[in-house]
């Protein structure tokens, strides 16, 4: 998946808005009555969300920075999926941050079914964002593979590249599905679970990449006489 400059600028605008909102909330709104137990987790979540959005946009833009010359129209599905994911996620994170800021101000909010309406809206946005990410991960193996040097594995070739894409999509999809129950957990436990799960998935992803990179190098270095 990748995004072009136009989409990157649009998403950067949303990230800038999130950063501004976080700065205004943390630095300038004084005197608001805060529920003591909720203050710190809410404030660090308000500051963390723009970082997550920025990392997502940066990684997708970096992917699309130097598309292979042979890509052409083949790269179009990758750009479309990347655009949907980046804009959808940035919008969702912006909305969630807005709702967190509202919650942190402890304003009198209309309850609905025993919880503030803001809570239900936030839950709906989180579920929509997770569905978007799951759908994007599901469709990733259908995107065409463009051979390029990955770090740290190098080139994976036309055989191991698509295999790596399929395995990688499964790893991250599994990671996300396992994390779904954390929506209902407390913020500290939820973020800790996200951190641990992402760390494991990242290590697994990199190990797989290096493994396939080595196999491709071995296959490339085999002489025609030795090849089976």
């Amino acid at each position: 998946m990748m995004i072009d400059r136009r989409t990157a600028l649009l998403c950067a605008g949303m990230v800038a808005l999130m950063v501004l909102a976080a700065v205004v909330r943390v630095a300038f709104i004084h005197g608001a009555v805060l529920v003591a137990r909720q203050e710190t987790p809410l404030l660090w979540q308000i500051c963390l969300l723009p970082i997550i959005a920025a990392l997502l946009v940066l990684s997708l833009y970096a992917n699309g920075r130097h598309p292979p010359v042979s890509a052409g129209a083949k790269a179009q599905p990758s750009y479309e999926l990347g655009q949907r994911l980046s804009i959808g996620c940035c919008l969702s994170l912006l909305l969630i941050q807005g709702l967190l800021i509202l919650t942190s101000l402890d304003l009198p909010l209309t309850p609905w079914l025993g919880l503030p309406l803001v809570h239900w809206i936030g839950l709906a946005v989180v579920i929509a964002m997770v569905a978007l990410v799951l759908q994007a991960l599901d469709q990733t193996p259908k995107l065409p593979w463009f051979d390029r040097k990955l770090y740290p594995a190098g080139e994976l070739g036309p055989i191991y590249g698509p295999r790596y894409m399929r395995a990688r999509a499964k790893i991250w999809l599994l990671c996300l599905v396992i994390l779904l129950p954390c929506i209902y957990a407390g913020p500290r436990l939820a973020w800790l679970s996200v951190l641990i799960a992402f760390a494991i998935a990242f290590v697994w992803d990199m190990t797989l990449q290096v493994h396939y990179g080595r196999r491709w190098k071995i296959e490339q270095s085999m002489t025609p006489d030795c090849k089976p």
Partner: protein, 100 residues
């Protein structure tokens, strides 16, 4: 989704997808694994292309097929293979390839 279920319901087409899981292959390389006529194999490729499970690259006179399965479709393929959907139909593999 109907076209995906239709494509995965045939054991021959599932075997083609499993072969493509290993590496992209030309139509000729895939045909070596089956004991069926080429027009029949072409019909299977057409069903797989219609279901968007494979795509083809034409280089010169040869056509190379690449796998194009989403995670869900991959899981459906594994499930259909495990349960044995459509067994009793499908085409025989060549004897030399049956042990694979």
């Amino acid at each position: 989704m109907n076209s995906v279920f239709k494509a995965l319901s045939d054991p021959t087409r599932r075997r083609i997808l499993q072969l493509l899981r290993e590496r992209p292959m030309t139509a000729g390389q895939i045909a070596e694994h089956f004991d069926i006529a080429k027009p029949t194999l072409s019909a299977h490729f057409a069903v797989l292309r219609e279901a968007d499970l494979v795509y083809s690259d034409k280089m010169g006179t040869s056509v190379t097929y690449h796998l194009k399965l989403s995670v869900l479709e991959d899981a459906l393929l594994s499930f259909a293979e495990t349960v044995g959907v459509g067994l009793g139909g499908g085409h025989a593999l060549k004897p030399s390839r049956r042990t694979r």
